[in-house]
């Protein structure tokens, strides 16, 4: 508007070029004064108008964004094409009634053999532990694939915890994952240690699969049913390298199937249940594992919730001398008190064990303090009655303070 006024003044001054110099000067002066007055009025009008005008609509609406693809990264990530990168550091201070030399030599007859060089990846030492630093990366590869990797690093160890590619755009609610990944059966298995509700692994998991759970190279196919009720079906074919249950060694041997379903009982209470069947081979025969899980969660307000979660597993493992028939379970209750505090308790038990003592159990309790979303201090006490030393069952008492932090583009955890 102002520009037009100045321009018109300029044009008229050119048109008037033939008039006398005095006249011209006069007119120019008059015009410039007029422009000044007009500009002032305009400014004033604009000032009055500004807060109540529809300015957002015109300035913010960018039609170039409407093709879609350009907006993909802006919505959920900070960097244009760099993968989302997160660093997770987990360390602990442990007090325990058994010294470090003895501790690693434990066994659980029928489940875990005595091996003084046994690898204990989490909280092995009385005193201080740097458990691991983990680097997680995620990115879309192209319109068809996503890539995800977690590199797990310990003082003398580098491990590819997971590295897989998954499809983005298959029809009919299907998704395929390929690479090395954690099996999605049950509740604990797929979660990384830093996402566990308790720092110690449930003994049925450590007994059947060891500290890393069931994790292998393989392929996974999942299908989500187009129903009101959540229903997910998964099948996995994996290498089967897990020494505690499989490790056939001659060829790939592990197959999983699982079904998960969830209903909202009320607006704030939901139930998630799953059943799984895992079939594989060990060097002496077949191994079959049947598992079931149940989670009930109630939301009390935005930051308070109560979650009760249980898993049961049964294993039939053929061996030359005697087929192992074993089962175990855990049940846990976690209460999120507010944005900063949580507390919880868990009971673990190995109920059936035809190769050793049964009813080996563990009691765990914890209090958690999260000063912020990405840092967590957890004080956890456990009384573990599942460990044997030199053929004798011995109670292991442990008090642990664990610090976990996550920095960078760390994705939200699922339910």
């Amino acid at each position: 508007m102002k520009k037009i006024l100045i321009l018109s003044a300029f044009c008229s001054s050119i048109l008037l070029a033939s008039s006398e110099v005095e006249d011209l000067k006069m007119q120019l002066l008059q015009q410039s004064e007029m422009i000044k007055a007009l500009t002032q009025r305009l400014d004033k009008l604009e000032e009055e108008k500004s807060p109540y005008s529809e300015n957002i609509a015109s300035s913010g609406f960018d039609t170039s964004m409407m093709q879609g693809t350009q907006t993909a990264n802006a919505s959920f990530s900070q960097n244009a094409y760099l993968p989302d990168i997160a660093l997770i550091i987990n360390s602990s201070a442990v007090g325990r009634n058994i010294d470090n030399v003895d501790y690693s030599a434990y066994s659980t007859p029928g489940f875990i053999d005595t091996d003084p060089n046994k690898e204990i990846p989490f909280n092995p030492d009385r005193g201080f532990n740097l458990n691991y630093a983990e680097v997680a990366m995620y990115s879309a590869v192209d319109p068809y694939f996503d890539a995800f990797a977690i590199f797990h690093m310990r003082a003398a160890d580098f491990e590819i915890d997971e590295a897989y590619v998954s499809t983005r755009d298959l029809p009919y609610g299907l998704k395929v994952k390929a690479g090395k990944f954690k099996s999605a059966f049950g509740r604990y298995n797929e979660k990384h240690q830093h996402a566990w509700e308790f720092s110690e692994q449930p003994i049925v998991y450590s007994g059947f699969f060891g500290p890393e759970g069931l994790s292998d190279p393989g392929v996974q196919l999942q299908w989500v049913a187009p129903t009101d009720t959540y229903l997910m079906l998964g099948v996995e074919a994996m290498q089967g390298t897990n020494e505690q249950s499989f490790a056939y060694a001659k060829t790939n041997n592990l197959y999983n199937t699982y079904v998960k379903s969830s209903v909202d009982v009320t607006e704030d209470t939901s139930v998630l249940a799953g059943i799984s069947y895992i079939h594989g081979k060990n060097l002496e025969g077949n191994t079959d594992i049947y598992a079931a899980d149940l989670t009930v969660q109630t939301q009390l307000d935005s930051y308070r919730s109560l979650a009760w979660q249980s898993e049961y597993m049964y294993r039939n493992r053929e061996q030359n001398i005697k087929t192992a028939r074993q089962d175990g379970m855990y049940t846990q209750l976690v209460y999120d008190i507010n944005q900063n505090y949580s507390m919880g308790a868990r009971y673990d038990i190995l109920m059936k064990n035809n190769l050793g003592d049964k009813n080996l159990d563990m009691y765990t309790a914890m209090v958690e303090y999260k000063p912020f979303e990405f840092s967590r201090l957890r004080l956890e006490y456990s009384l573990d009655k599942s460990k044997y030393y030199g053929g004798e069952q011995k109670d292991v008492q442990q008090l642990m303070l664990e610090l976990n932090i996550a920095v960078g583009a760390h994705g939200a955890h699922s339910y």
């Binding site: 913010g60 907006t71 959920f76 983005r168 998704k175 989500v224 997910m232 209903v263 000063p371 912020f372």
Partner: protein
Amino acid sequence: MKFLLFLMLTLASVYASLNVQTTYTSLGEIAKKVGGDKVSVNVLANPHYDPHFIVPKPSLISKLRRADVLIINGAGLELGWLPPLLKGAHNGKIRPGAKGFIDVSNAIKLQNIPATVSRAFGDVHSQGNPHYMLDPYSVIPAARLIASKLSAVDESNAEYYHENLDKFLKNWKIYLKGLDTKMRGCKEKNVVQYHELFNYFLNRYQYKSYGNIEPLPGVSPSSKHTLALINTIQSKKVNMILQDVYHNQKTAKFIAQKAGVKFLILPHDVGAVDKTDSLEKFYTVISNKICQ
């Protein structure tokens, strides 16, 4: 036979409308206005809860599984809960970047974009303040974006969506005129908030926000910060404390009592408090409370 016919008819009617999911209620209201009877709209987040932290229940996955269109607020507001749900839904139609994925923040000029981003400053919204739906004027660009996106997904009804849009915007502008007139009469304009949740409304009507009860975004109140805030309230002559429905009200009430100022609970979205079940009522309730 009759049953079969009935089944086919119901199926046809179900599939005739576009399945639209929105993350929050205000976006759902706009989608209903623009989509009319050609869409069925469902809102994922319960407006009584903190919009930053919605529990990613598996039932929400099944809602997303069958969606034709997903409308999100964007600017990071759903970062804490939506990505795992989208990952679990296996629905290419609504994955970020697809035709059916609508990020409304793309149509909005965001405010409070931080110059430096670090979590040392708390859970800062790195792309700018995402609570733009608190500005009643944001409804206009949001509705326009939704109309053009719905038209792209469902071309045969493009004209219908644009007719709805024009009708809706015409009424909305009339509503805004009334609201503006009313807001011009407000005298007390100095506030303190819990989180920078109401900035867009406050900026629209020239209120001044002198501080937040949370010391840093996402960090719980501390006594040191609270005492400093009471001093600020007194020295800056703050008139009222604005709080959302989902945070603990203890600190705000304490401050209000100590400093002798008003304590108000404002809705952050349609349906967050009673009698805010439409867009008009939502903004009217805010204006009634804040401009007494």
